[in-house]
Subunit: 418 residues, 2 copies
């Protein structure tokens, strides 16, 4: 069979699910087009480090076409998919072009959701892309600069108040790291303010932070956060956000920097599939990760939702997305060969969350630990999984220097808010 | 004398002149405020490496308040000066605040000048700040992406045509590096285009590139550029630039990426001094670098213009700016102590320009050389002068990896054009 007669797999999204599917099909009789809005794969678990000036963008991102340069059956294209036309087996792009497919993998991930309060978005940016991270970095660093430049006590206090909405992994990481920046990184660099007086608030509507972990670890995480200087407010639902404040019920907190880590929604592309979505906009998939009634369309990563045999959903984490990508690749190969396909089974290696310097929690099922051992475990695991030798070296160097000096090397304000 | 009674020096601009003046006054009986629009000192000689994806922003920038954290007589403020009110000895800021001074050092540098064609600016960005560098990086990398995505031959050709206007050091660096990216870095990563077919044009209105160097070195530079694959067009005045093309006289060249390295103008702040400026908007200074008739105001770096005893102007290069900063600090100390001041003398250590991989020219007066020895000399000199151990290590690592693999580690498209 000539190469041009191989079936065409179109992958939308170069995250963990999409990239792993493409790599698993190296050398296979499939022509692959990998479409992404950006030009890079992002190691999202370390994105909060870019937002908090510990790492620079290229440390945690690599161009997709560079990663896949040796895989001759892949064409990488930068572009934005806006709709699936499953009747004609094609995807429409934002620039009006269309791409035809024999198999389609939708893996365009999730975006922020403001629970019907889209007017909060400009005042409370979320963290999903490098652009988001650079915006958050700019806001955090500029707040300290404006506090130093201000002569007004109330203004200075508001500039030095940081509110993070949402006590999941991202909110906890941002809060812990922000507290460290204020207490350690910046402590001797200002003349008019004392950055250690900054308030870092972590606001969680539910009863505890990191609610996907066992309760004992959640409590340990909260204690570690408080030791770093974070004010943890559980049971605190945010009722209003504007440029100057955040409201918790009737309590108004003056702040100029609110970060959103509370809600995600699946990418809007899923709507064009014409199947019912779940409340978060995710596509319920069949056991083989295909779409009900459209067996040539697969959905992977954060865009998919699937109940496991234990009654829980497959979590929206990187290992699950990678496993889905691999499974979809195997399913496509089986279909081409006329073999039977297998249902997807998520293999749970454990759950870990980092909190700050020497602070983390790890849940490996039977084995649970926290503090410095958990932090060391997290560090090794994350550097190991970072793509590319150079990135590993630079990240290691940045972290070694940061650990000893409390410094953060990416403290550069670039760009301006619109 | 109590500290608060020390005279107040306001420095506008944290570049080489401003930062070196502040550092030279460590421990001196002077209160210093260093005002900058950004939060960082920029190692401008390597800015083209950020624009061409070889280095990331934090590699060549360091927060001013971190550099000066141990110097207790300096307060660093982020803000933009818009006018000098010399009658009241104060500077007005963009946010309406004012800062009083006893001594003032204006060192706010230069910006791009389009010779009366400001409508060219959006189509031909120049390179002065990190924001400029990230914009240029985005445009270069996006042009290759759009060429790969296009089905139209003419469009693909236009996307793969890059025009750099101006054959000075910045233009030569950009052209040489862009040619290397097309010929080496990207060569196996595209499936539909061959990046090696990209045209890189260096357009210089004058008779030769790098005109501040001796003619023999200019010719060597041109030959090295041509060997890297750059089309050098001297005697080519640009008559029009728009989103789709550049015009040389009556010749129209279709291109989607024009970079501006042709003209600089001093920062507009100088106009408020009320003294005559030169054609480029620079302030003609007295031999001690003060403003005529306003001895408490000094001007340093690219904003100043001064004829040397040999009849040539002090060049707008980093070593001259540093020497000016040091000289102004010494003059202020002499004035406070009631001692006589000395005229500024520029000590010329030589002139060097890099062209690309293994290509550069060096002019040390009696000693002139080019090619690999010049490139090695340039490399050592630049890494040595980079601020901060961490930066030196990361830049070295980036360059070592880049040299052996032809890779560029910052090939990440971030942000969008407005």
């Amino acid at each position: 069979m000539p190469e041009s007669a191989h079936p065409h797999l179109l992958i939308v999204g170069g995250g963990f699910a999409g990239l792993w599917a493409a790599r698993a099909l190296a050398g296979a009789p499939v022509r692959i087009t990998l479409l992404d809005r950006g030009n890079h794969h992002l190691f999202q678990p370390l994105l909060y480090q870019v937002a908090t000036a510990g790492l620079s963008s290229p440390d945690i991102a690599a161009p997709l076409r560079h990663i896949l340069r040796k895989q001759k059956n892949v064409t990488v294209l930068m572009g934005e998919a806006v709709a699936v036309d499953s009747a004609d087996r094609q995807v429409r792009l934002a620039d009006g072009d269309t791409l035809r497919y024999d198999f389609l993998l939708l893996a365009s991930g999730a975006t922020h959701a403001y629970f019907g309060h889209d007017d909060w978005a400009p005042h409370a940016p979320g963290l999903k892309t490098l652009d988001d991270a650079l915006l958050i970095r700019r806001r955090i660093l500029s707040a300290f600069e404006r506090a130093e430049a201000s002569d007004d006590d109330a203004e200075r206090k508001a500039q030095l108040t940081f509110a993070i909405v949402g006590g999941g992994p991202t909110g906890v990481e941002l809060a812990g790291t922000l507290a460290e920046i204020a207490r350690q990184t910046l402590k001797r660099e200002f003349r008019r303010i004392d950055p250690r007086q900054a308030r870092v608030l972590l606001l969680e509507a539910g009863p505890r932070v990191l609610s996907t972990f066992p309760e004992s670890l959640s409590l340990k995480a909260q204690r570690q956060l408080e030791r770093l200087g974070v004010e943890v407010r559980t049971g605190s639902a945010v009722t209003h956000i504007d440029a100057d404040s955040v409201m918790l019920g009737d309590e108004r907190i003056a702040t100029r920097t609110v970060l959103w880590a509370a809600g995600v929604a699946a990418s809007p592309l899923a709507r064009s599939l014409g199947v019912p979505l779940d409340r978060a906009g995710r596509v319920p998939v069949e056991p083989d990760l295909s779409v009900s009634g459209q067996p040539q369309i697969f959905v992977g990563g954060d865009l998919a939702t699937l109940l496991q045999v234990n009654g829980k959903s497959v979590p929206g984490v990187a290992p699950a997305a990678k496993q889905m990508g691999n499974h979809i690749a195997a399913t496509i190969l089986a279909r081409i060969a006329g073999r039977a396909t297998k249902p997807f089974r998520y293999r749970d290696w454990g759950n870990l969350a980092t909190i700050g310097r020497r602070a983390a929690i790890v849940d490996l099922g039977k084995l649970r630990f926290s503090g410095f051992p958990a932090w060391s475990f997290w560090l090794v695991a994350h550097i190991f999984f970072l793509i590319g030798f150079r990135n590993r070296m630079v990240v290691l160097l940045d972290w070694a220097v940061a650990y000893w000096t409390h410094q953060r090397n990416a403290r550069i304000i670039v760009g301006r808010d619109d």
